[in-house]
């Protein structure tokens, strides 16, 4: 993107205009395009898919009436929410109350700046990409606290306080596990990290050494907690706090919180893909730049979406932890483990500065083994307790 812009400037398309304005305008345009043609449908379809996946896990069907298999359900919901009355409680702090959803949304949306969808498809390849990510996602907590405080509702306040404690704590294991990759790759730039990996699974940082393997799961767990997802959804714990910080929200403002939440799922997957799963790397099958770009985008999208699916699936499985257990999980288990991973990777790099191919391949085999074990358990579950009895045998 930057290259394209620089090229355009060199060719004199913006002759005479101040460079800053051109850059700013270009950024705004990119943001608009990404928001309306990628993020909005993505978050919407994620919401639909989550409901479908959830429903199937629970032996239900899920939304299947609007559009083919209900895929347009998110549009219907969005329109409904747009048309709803936007209620602001009289006792609420009006300005903060109105602003909070947008702060949350901005915190999530700004991460798209550094997400590499392909070798050319990145808004800005910052050389401090990961630092930027960690910094900008912290904005979300400000928005949630604003929402919780300004609602002037005790449940909201409790939700906001929980959220603040949770997000601030979980930034540490998340940051530490990301640092292992920064060690291994030697760069903070997202594109640099991807190019340090290869297209083959055993060249991914996931299988770089046992420590990065653990760091991946640590990162994923911490990211779920940062994204307020089950089992760490205590800020909006429905059975405890009614709806947590969104209790008083309605209409479009309410939707923005969930827009951010579902979009954030994709961001989690995208970061995990970039750092651990080789990003957009594809096997060398084509030289055509556009075709390669499309392939890269597809590969990246699928890899990221796999983790979105896993997050949905985790949500359908696990109960919620308590607020003190959340803290002890973070400080007693995840932070020490993340430190061990960090030190282990550092030691590994001292011993094998170029990485150990054999160990990587071995780790890959272990990964396959875990997958195989999992499939075996699944088939056991199906054989063991098949609901054969359908008193009313039709769907």
């Amino acid at each position: 993107m930057q290259q394209l812009l620089n090229q355009l400037i060199q060719e004199g398309y913006f002759h005479g205009a101040p460079m800053e304005l051109v850059y700013a305008g270009f950024m705004l345009l990119a943001a608009f395009v990404v928001l309306s043609f990628f993020v909005a449908p993505l978050a919407g379809i994620t919401s639909w898919l989550e409901r479908r996946v959830w429903a199937r896990i629970q032996s239900r069907v899920g939304p299947n009436r609007v559009g083919p298999q209900g895929i347009l359900q998110w549009l219907a919901d969005g329109i409904k929410n747009l048309l709803k009355e936007d209620i602001i409680p009289t006792a609420a702090d009006r300005r903060l109350f109105a602003l909070a959803p947008y702060v949350v949304f901005a915190g999530f949306f700004a991460t798209f700046v550094v997400i590499p969808f392909g070798s050319q498809l990145i808004v800005a390849d910052l050389n401090i990409g990961i630092l930027y990510l960690l910094a900008i996602t912290s904005l979300v907590v400000v928005g949630i606290l604003m929402a919780g405080w300004s609602s002037n509702n005790k449940w909201s306040l409790l939700g906001g306080m929980r959220s603040a404690a949770q997000i601030v704590s979980y930034e540490i294991p998340a940051g530490l596990s990301l640092l292992t990759i920064v060690f291994a790759a030697g760069t903070m730039s997202m594109q640099g990290i991807i190019t340090a990996q290869g297209w083959a699974p055993w060249n991914w940082f996931l299988f770089y050494n046992p420590f990065t393997f653990v760091a991946f799961f640590l990162y994923f767990t911490a990211a779920l907690a940062e994204g307020n997802r089950t089992p760490f959804d205590i800020p909006e714990a429905e059975s405890e706090l009614v709806a947590g910080y969104v209790t008083e929200y309605s209409g479009m403002r309410f939707l923005f919180f969930f827009f951010a939440e579902w979009g954030n799922l994709y961001v989690i997957g995208a970061i995990a893909t970039t750092l651990f799963l080789g990003g957009w790397q594809i096997p060398p099958v084509t030289d055509h730049p556009i075709l390669a770009g499309v392939l890269q985008f597809i590969v990246f999208f699928l890899k990221a979406y796999l983790w979105v699916f896993v997050a949905m699936w985790v949500r359908g499985t696990l109960p919620r932890v308590r607020v003190d257990q959340l803290m002890s999980l973070c400080w007693k288990y995840m932070v020490p483990l993340a430190f061990i991973c960090l030190l282990g990777t550092a030691a590994w790099m001292v011993i094998w500065p170029q990485g150990n191919r054999l160990a990587s391949f071995f780790m890959f085999l272990i990964g396959l083994g875990i997958l195989g074990l999992f499939l075996k358990r699944v088939s056991f579950q199906i054989r063991h307790a098949r609901p054969v009895l359908y008193l009313k045998p039709y769907i």
């Binding site: 359908g316 288990y333 358990r377 609901p387």
Partner: protein
């Protein structure tokens, strides 16, 4: 040392049980859902799949109602109101009204068991939504009709005979397939 062991055990237990739970939920992704997509996406209406004993909205077959008022008396919430009028000239007794308030009815089935001919019975119908509560009062008599008198030695009129048969069959099915069971013996 035991503290370390506990620490490690906590981690392994968490990982293994979460793994197991994930396997269970994943296995459900490939199983058939149980949902019945009422009311439109089903092969046949739900009413037809309900068992015969199902206690739906009450219906009355006025042609075989003897006007014994057993149902009115037995109803715990008095949702059945029956009016019978005796004409002065002919001594002919006729129904003036037979109303059942579906709003009040609690579908206990006591009236259907008390009926000697099986004329009041639960249908398989359960969809009673309407805009006005008054619409939920079912009027079974629109114009005065005479009471049914069971004839000794069986019914002769074929259409009536069929209805009597249906009523008795309903009583049988509703009560018990085996003799001696059910509401039939409750008459003390």
């Amino acid at each position: 040392m035991s503290a370390v062991g506990e620490y490690v055990r906590d981690i392994t237990e968490t990982v293994t049980t979460v793994f197991e739970g994930m396997a269970v939920t994943f296995s459900h992704l490939v199983r058939r859902p149980m949902t019945i997509q009422y009311p439109d996406r089903i092969p046949k209406p739900v009413q037809e799949t309900l068992p015969l004993r199902y206690r739906g909205i009450l219906e009355v077959d006025m042609d075989i109602c003897t006007g014994c008022l057993a149902c009115e008396r037995v109803c715990p919430i008095s949702c059945i109101t029956i009016g019978i009028e005796t004409s002065k000239e002919t001594k002919q007794r006729t129904f003036t009204h037979f109303d059942i308030d579906i709003c009040k009815c609690m579908y206990c089935g006591l009236c259907a068991e008390a009926c000697p001919t099986g004329s009041i019975r639960h249908s398989q119908e359960f969809e009673g939504a309407c805009y006005n509560p008054a619409g939920l009062v079912r009027h079974f008599v629109t114009e005065p009709v005479p009471l049914y008198k069971p004839k000794k030695g069986g019914e002769t009129d074929p259409t009536l005979a069929e209805k009597v048969e249906t009523g008795l069959k309903y009583l049988d099915e509703f009560a018990s397939p085996e003799k001696g069971g059910g509401a039939g013996t409750e008459e003390g």
